[in-house]
């Protein structure tokens, strides 16, 4: 199993350009998440999805859109990139809340390796 993979690993954009970050997981997880990590800010949730065809806003959703057309994929879009979106982006996935086996099974999120995005 590859776990959680992210494409691309690095990207440099100019202000106003658009791009899509792809996250894929092969663990049959229901839930998927997009975070950004900035110095001194920890991991902040951008958007998340609790199942195919569903999405919800996280803590810092402005300037981003997401889609979950297939259970295994979660896409993060930047329609008009801004320098403030320079960050490292992490995708994560987890089992659904209905899974037996306790909170360790349902609450643990598994992360991808990250995408480093620079907006000039």
């Amino acid at each position: 199993n590859a776990g959680v993979t992210q494409t691309p690993k690095f990207r440099v954009l100019k202000t106003g350009q658009s791009m899509t970050l792809l996250c894929a997981q092969d663990m049959n997880h229901e839930y998927m998440y997009w975070y950004r990590q900035d110095p001194g800010m920890g991991l902040r949730l951008i958007h998340y999805s609790v199942g195919e065809g569903t999405t919800a806003k996280g803590e810092v959703p402005d300037g981003y859109n997401v889609s979950r057309l297939k259970k295994q994929n979660f896409l993060l879009g930047l329609e008009s990139a801004a320098p403030s979106q320079t960050s490292v982006y992490f995708c994560a996935s987890s089992y659904s809340k209905g899974l037996a086996g306790g909170r360790k099974n349902t609450d643990t999120q598994y992360f991808g390796p990250g995408t480093r995005l620079t907006v000039l």
Partner: protein
């Protein structure tokens, strides 16, 4: 409003000694806590967790302690090894409404183990 706080951005510990990483939280609805470890250029990986019904959980060299009345948890690493050098994130979740699908992360503590 930072609901999960790690007040020490960095910590240096001699190899073989104990490393203690601290985390405080403000939301009394949090009932499950996790520690993640992150190496440079990699994603965070799950390390150890604890439910609010316990006050201690051990896994090899790693022990997490939870003090609910103080809203404080700590991660102990004994003995510390050079491979433990990483950024450690504390995270919390709450079984509210219909689920527990979100984690709230702290800002992280960079641990450096000195050989």
């Amino acid at each position: 409003d930072q609901q999960v706080k790690q007040n020490s951005p960095s910590l240096s510990v001699q190899e073989g000694r104990i490393s203690i990483l601290n985390c405080d939280y403000t939301n009394s609805m949090f009932d499950y806590f996790l520690w993640y470890k992150k190496y440079p250029a990699e994603g965070p990986t799950f390390l150890i967790s604890i439910s609010s019904i316990k006050d201690k959980n051990e896994d090899g060299r790693f022990t997490v302690f939870l003090n609910k009345s103080a809203k404080h948890l700590s991660l102990h690493i004994v003995p510390s090894q050079p491979g433990d050098s990483a950024v450690y994130f504390c995270a919390a979740s709450a079984w509210v409404n219909f689920g527990n699908e979100k984690l709230t992360f702290g800002t992280g503590t960079r641990l450096t183990i000195i050989p």
